[in-house]
Assembly symmetry: C2
């Protein structure tokens, strides 16, 4: 049944394999003939949330990447694309970042994308694709992490920001954190705004499958 196998690196330490495997299971539901093997970087319970935590993660991602055996492609499941360029030079297989995948998918819908994440800065892969076309209005009010997203105040703040991005001229909304991918927010925001909303886990899954087919 599984014609392809891809590795997926979570840039956060989850001790619960159920939680760790969330992105991989979401991708396998979309592409039933692609098996996803997930590994988490060690000793980083809060994941990547600022430049220092990104720097801390990069060598761990590179070490972990080398431990996968027999995979057709490797996904780094983080909107910052940490270590992606380094690994593209190091490994003989395609290496896919969530950030560049999301930005590219959003580019389909026009030259102006609204970035919606939960960090203060825009991840670099989004700026690389959109340059000045990017619309960024900061974080949802009062939301600093994914747990706060699923409160009713958090949901309200995210929807309100999405509507502001639309008003500012966004042709699409590019979610900018894989942590907000898994709560099903993309479809809800698409319904609420009428804009295409690109989910980073969906986007990285598509690019990984594309690379598998092009082997």
């Amino acid at each position: 049944m599984h014609r392809y196998t891809v590795g997926l690196i979570r840039v956060i330490k989850h001790s619960d394999p159920e939680k760790a495997g969330l992105h991989g299971r979401q991708i396998m539901r979309m592409f039933p003939n692609m098996m996803v093997e997930t590994k988490c970087i060690p000793r980083q319970e809060k994941g990547i949330y600022d430049p220092a935590s990104k720097e801390e993660a990069i060598p761990k991602i590179i070490d972990l990447a080398k431990t996968f055996l027999g995979i057709d492609a490797l996904i780094i499941s983080c909107a910052e694309d940490p270590a992606v360029e380094q690994l593209q030079r190091l490994l003989p297989i395609p290496v896919i970042g969530a950030g560049s995948s999301t930005a590219i998918m959003a580019r389909r819908f026009g030259q102006r994308a609204g970035v919606l994440g939960i960090t203060d800065d825009v991840p670099l892969p989004y700026s690389k694709v959109f340059g000045n076309g990017l619309i960024h209005l900061g974080r949802p009010v009062g939301v600093h992490n994914t747990l706060e997203l699923i409160t009713s105040a958090g949901t309200h703040a995210v929807e309100s920001l999405a509507l502001q991005l639309k008003e500012a001229g966004a042709c699409s909304i590019a979610l900018a954190c894989t942590g907000i991918s898994t709560i099903g927010i993309a479809k809800r925001l698409a319904e609420r705004t009428g804009l295409p909303v690109v989910d980073p886990v969906v986007a990285e899954g598509f690019m990984a499958y594309y690379e598998c087919l092009n082997k």
Copy 2:
């Protein structure tokens, strides 16, 4: 088995259903749970090969598009994206063009793409995505239609043009005609040049599946 159904319009009249169904079968092999129903526009045996034949095809594509029943998305299988914008306004389902899909997929690999087609002009969807980043060095020498591609002189001319595009700084090669998609040229050129080569039928299939999953 088929969770989704997409319509596919060939912008050429094929009386042989085997030939007509080539793009659809290629897409179904990639996405086994997506059924592709193909229709050809009438009275246009040579397809689209210049501005006049494109103008001639547009009303036929629009009429034909309205005859599909119960599809989740519609593909216009031509690198020019003829009638795509009109149909996006007219139909309640996503409408995907081969041209914009190919350009977007090629954009993954950097800001400079080499366009390789068999017409004199660059299809508009490619310019829209790449602007000045596009590299176009004309047609392969001596190749005016897809039949000439499969001669050994034609193959040689295509490979030689692909290598020239690489030398000119292309990060990827975006094929610019769905007619050259079906002869398996993408993989051969990728091996020959070491560059990613984006096949329009593969790209349109991906975007259609993306739209199906995002319904």
